[in-house]
Symmetry: C2
Subunit: 256 residues, 2 copies
Amino acid sequence: MKVTALKTSHIIKNNENLFEVICETLDYNKIELTERSVIVIAETLVGTSENRIIDIESVKNISEKAEELALKYQIDPKFAQLVLEESDEIVGGIPGMLFTEKNGILIANGGIDESNSGIEGKVSLWPRNPFGSARDLVQKIKQKFGLTDFGIIISDSRVQPIRKGVVGVAIGIDGFHPIIDCRGRKDLFGHEMKWTTRAIADQLSDTAHVVMGECDEQTPCVLIENCPVEFTNDPIPQDSMLMPKKDDLFYRIWKK
Amino acid sequence: MKVTALKTSHIIKNNENLFEVICETLDYNKIELTERSVIVIAETLVGTSENRIIDIESVKNISEKAEELALKYQIDPKFAQLVLEESDEIVGGIPGMLFTEKNGILIANGGIDESNSGIEGKVSLWPRNPFGSARDLVQKIKQKFGLTDFGIIISDSRVQPIRKGVVGVAIGIDGFHPIIDCRGRKDLFGHEMKWTTRAIADQLSDTAHVVMGECDEQTPCVLIENCPVEFTNDPIPQDSMLMPKKDDLFYRIWKK
């Protein structure tokens, strides 16, 4: 498996066409796409192409709830309002940050990023439909390059329990199965595996983050070649990577 | 960055010398180690080399606490006793599994594995000193191959909150800094990053798990070449990847 960070030819601006950006970036990096590749794309790039960079000053109509959160967690009420609008649920917070659930994923500030979003006062919102954007890209790229097996991951970074540092999380994917179910398969000694499923899409997000960076690298796309996943043309259900809360270990143990 | 799963020439048995196993595996896969490589090793292999495969029937002196956990979570009292001995804390459980903290890491069953541990009734325990084993290997491998920049990760897999499937976690490392601190660095637009630190050792564990598999692949070592980490000769503190609970987002929000 080969992992290559792809630098864009320029800093991508609001409303640039994502498919064209990807094609131009492949060209700029002299990449010829081959079968069994996956491209991991930073969610900020996808959001930017959807004009999801907005000026925090443009947020009006601050709700009572937003004022309350802003006071409690020492954040700008406008930012709190945006997080409320972008999130499905506010799970909690610490000073300076709200912790939220969005599309079934636990993520800081409803996925709103203050970095890599442009000049001061701008923030970037999550892509509107990460699975849809991934599917659209997979279909266009397969057609343009004549590929059968190809996948896209739209990726964000997030914290993990009682460990330092962010890891990657796949917020939208297409072209391959995001979970590998080992249950019923045999181990080295022929025993049947009882528990294990593998979060291969999250593992590949993490793989990409190793070379992608988080600062000023200008490499929002990562090409993973010779990728050991099970490719498919079928659409991937949006809940395919989510553990129902009633079955979730952390949720059952910690969140009473 | 290139990622290669290394098959062992045979199934590794109790008490085989780990350094010799790694050298033989490199040879068997015709690998010439180069500067800036990291080898990720499955914890089961390290445990096996330390004779940490044990027969569950050999567990005696079942404590009252173990009997209680066994009843509550429908597990074998002998297994519960082992988990108690191996863990620093029992965090909770679900039917069939205990959730524990060990060396500051949240992990199922105190890191005890029922798969890839040998014939029926055998389980594998975590390596005794993952940081020490990693350091020992790094020093021996650097010397044998005349390398300056080389790293080792000893890796396990674990679940993540409200997501399906396991991801990789680094339980011991040496040869490079496991966390990249981006705070104070600039983003694309020159803004200073306020929050982000990157769990690069965990990200590399995950990278390895993509090609390593969890079943009968017999590839407990993964070579990552041209690895973008900051190499060092200094020993890595055992708590360098741990977020103090008082500062941890999940802990502060969920665990009251």
